[in-house]
Each structure stands twice: as C-alpha cells, then as structure tokens.
Amino acid sequence: MRADRIAALVMKGALALFIAVWVMVAVIVGAGAWRFVSANGLVGPLVSSRWSPLAAHYGILAFVVGSMAVTGLALVLAAPGVLALSVTGARILRGAPQRAFIQILTLFVAVPSVVYGWWGLSVAVPLIRRLTGTAGFGPLSAGIVLAVMIVPTFSIMALQTLRQVPSSLVEGSLGLGASEDQTLWHVILPASRAGLSQGFLVAVGRALGETIAVQMVIGGQSRVLSLLKPGATLTTQLLTDLALMPARTPGHDALDFMALWLMILMAVLVWLQSRVRGMSRG
C-alpha cells in the first residue's frame, strides 16, 4: 500500500519534472524566437543565407537547407544497411547468434556521437577527399557520418518490428508458392509499416538533432548546398555561435529562432508520418 503510494508519487514527480522542463524549453525558445521575429521578420531570415550575426545579418537559409540535406542524405545512405541488418537479425539468424547480433547492435546505439565524429575524421573525410579531390569536409561527409550513426538505432527498431510479424502471415505467403524474398517484400515489410515509420522518425530525429559529430566533418560555413564544400546545419551553427552570442546578448534570439525551426522541421515530419499511417489504415 505504502510502496504503491511512494511509487505513484515518484512517477507523478517525474512526470511533473518532465512537463516543467518541456514548458521551460518551449517558453525560452518561443520567447527568444518571438523577439527575433518581431525585430527581423519571419520570412526575411529564411530566404537569406547571409549569416554574420555580429553585423546583424541573420539569414538561416543555408542552415535549414543544410539540415534537411544532411538528414536526407543520411537516410538514403543508411536505408540499405538498415534493411540488410534488420532482415538478417529478424528473419535469418535464430537463437544464440540472433541474441548476440541484437546485443552488438544495441552496443552501437550507445556509442557517443563524438566517437562517430572521430570516425568521420578518420574515415569519411579522407575517403571523400580521395574520391573527389576536395578537402573532404562538407555535407556529403556529414551525411555519411550520420548514416553510420543512425544505422544501429534504426536497425534495432526495424528488427524488433520485423520480428513481430506473425509467422502465420509468413506461412500464408510461403504456402501460396512465394519465395522468402517475395514474402519479405510483399508481406513482411508492408505488415511492419507502422513500426518501420516509427523507427524512421526516431532516426530522422537523431540525424536532425545531431550536432558534434556533424560539426567535426561538415566544415562550418553558411553556404546553400554544395555537397563537397564546407556547409553547416541548424545544430552545428547553434553550437558554433553559442559561444559568440551567450544568453542575453543581441544575437542570441537568432539562435532561439534556429532552434524553433529545428522543432518545426521535426513537427512537419511527424505530421507527414501520421498522414502516411492514416493512408495505410484506410
């Protein structure tokens, strides 16, 4: 009885803290973004890529485009790996090897992002340098680093979803003369759509929000999309300029505005996902 009440209290406290933190974040970001918009307008900063905050030029176009490009690139590059790993882990391996496989993947999820950034400096940047003859720093390298980074997370979620597809569906398909591959493409993957799109969102969230690993290899310039020249994303620029514009300095509101745009990008994705799900249900 007593333990129950304590547990309930702890849970309520945790929930309260969670809500409070979120409200605080929303209020701070919202207020800063509001001040920024009232001073600089909503559209102007979005269509300009001139970022020179000390001179009061706050064009964030390059960063918005950079975030989307790097994330999109990462997803495209990660997709084959995710498919291969999740299918291997869910439908090919069994028993002890399967458990070991899942544990190893989980281990990779816990690798901190600096390590992925380090990997990027050691592998991705030199690779791009050799392949293209450029310096190797840019959105392409960042996309590769992010792809490697989201593969474990996305794969584990996809794997768990694929594993939950009932074997009655699989046997139903095999029983009609379908091959294992046909069954995978036409039954298992469609039946896992909800779980896969959930994993997709988590992957996008991680890619969109990743900062340090991207910063280490992207080059850090406000440039609208060249995959091979130094660029920047909303998060990397936030990190870079936080030291330049600490709280309560004139430019700081621009950082809130950028944070707001990160949230908007994510919200658009969540909305798109709910549309896709709604369609598949109908």
Partner: protein
C-alpha cells in the same frame, strides 16, 4: 485432375524428439481425409510435410517417401514453389494479409507473375465465388481484409488458396476459431469441393470428420494407429485405442 497422395514410412524428428513414426498411408484422388487424434500426436506435422512447410522448423529431420500426384515431395530437387502452388494450405487462425480483400486474393497469382488487371480481376472474382464469399464482398474489394468477420476472413483465406489453382487443399483445424454458422459454411464448401480437390483436414471435431470426410486417420504419439473409410472407423474401428478415443476414454 485431383492427384492421389502416397506416404511411405514417414519419420519426422524435431531435434531429438520424434514427432512421426513410420507413417504409411494412401489417399485416392479427390478424396477427403480427416486426421484425428489427441493434441500433440503429430497431425499438423503430417500436414506440413505434404507442402514442405515443415522445412521452416529449426533442426527438423524428415525421412521416408511422400508422393503427391507427380511430386516426389521429399526429393531434394523438388520444385517447392510449384509444389506449394499445387498443394494449398488453410490455417487454424484466419491469416489474411493486412491489405485489401482484392490484394489478398490476387497475392498468389501476382507472385506467380500475373500482371494483367483483367485476368487478375477475373481470377479474384472466380475464387471468391468458389469460396462463397463473393456475394458478401462484391463492391467492397478495396476494403481492408481486416474489416471482415472471422468466418469471412477464413473463407477469404480459402479463396486466396484457390486463386493459384491448387489440386490439393490442406486444412489445419479450419473451423476451430469460428462460430457454428461460419463453421457450417466452411463444411459446406469442403463437401462441394470433393472430387475437384484432394483434401486433408485436421479436426478435433469428430462430428465434423464424420460429416465431411471419406476416410479417417487416427494418430497417437506420432503413429498412425488406424486409417479406414469414415463410416467404418466410426461404426467399427479395428483398434481398441481408436474406439477408446472415439468414445472419449482417452
């Protein structure tokens, strides 16, 4: 057109556990065989050998000879895809795919390479008619199969199996999860299908076995205890174990 089935000294092991022991039987073309016996006696195992679904079990070993029409089922070089198209299967739990009614029935033909929409439509309509579902779903083919009732879903699964033109149907307790009305409809189908398809049906419902089958095979502990014409088995079983099972003294 329906093939006969011949099984000779069939043994199945799951790892160390032996699930079937020296099963030998013959079923004539177009006949309905009912498999009865206590739970765990190997009925499903036997059924799953006939379309090689047994291959999916880990560490399974199968020995003996099984022939379905022209198919040497256990031969290493048998075309499993062709075998499974010839030998359709319906499961205890209706298992429609999470897609539209149309796509469910069209699944098999599409997998086999049929792309022409007109032919697909015709196949789907024919199959649904054969499964006595057409009248209930006509005009709703674009709805999700999940929106159907359990009984309708099971008939959809039968239609789906029929759409690839099988010659043999394996039914593993096809009415176990259904209400009496739906059960009656499925039994009616089985009776109609006689002579067109050779059928093997697993059932725990002895009346059902009596109503739909031509022959009954009684399994116990992986052995085929007795097989004979349905009437004979129910009225004058040769084995004491069969009689005990039929009268409920297991």
């Amino acid at each position: 057109m329906a093939p006969d089935i011949e099984v000779d000294s069939l043994d199945v092991w799951y790892g160390q556990a032996r699930a079937l022991k020296e099963v030998t039987l013959h079923l004539g073309p177009g006949k309905v065989l009912a498999l009865i016996g206590p739970s765990g006696c190997g009925k499903s195992t036997f059924l799953r050998v006939l379309n090689r679904m047994i291959d999916r079990a880990p560490q399974v070993r199968v020995k003996g000879a099984v022939r379905v029409g022209a198919f040497e089922v256990l031969a290493g070089d048998v075309d499993v895809t062709a075998l499974r198209r010839t030998v359709g299967m319906v499961f205890q739990q209706p298992n429609p795919f999470p897609m539209t009614i149309f796509d469910n029935v069209a699944y098999g033909p599409r997998i086999a390479g049929l792309r022409q929409m007109a032919k697909l439509r015709q196949t789907v309509e024919d199959s649904l008619k054969k499964a006595a579902l057409w009248d209930e779903v006509r005009g709703k083919l674009r709805r999700s199969a999940m929106s159907l009732s359990g009984g309708q879903q099971q008939r959809l699964c039968i239609a789906r199996a029929l759409a690839v033109n099988p010659q043999v149907l394996l039914l593993d307790e096809p009415t176990a999860s259904l209400d009496p009305v739906s059960t009656a409809k499925i039994e009616e189908l089985i009776v109609q299908f006689k002579t067109h398809y050779t059928m093997v049906i697993v059932t725990h419902n002895l009346q059902q076995a009596a109503r739909v089958s031509d022959a009954v095979a009684f399994f116990e502990h992986g052995r085929l205890v007795e097989m004979g014409p349905t009437h004979d088995i129910f009225t004058a079983p040769r084995e004491r174990r069969t009689e005990e099972f039929l009268t409920g003294r297991v």
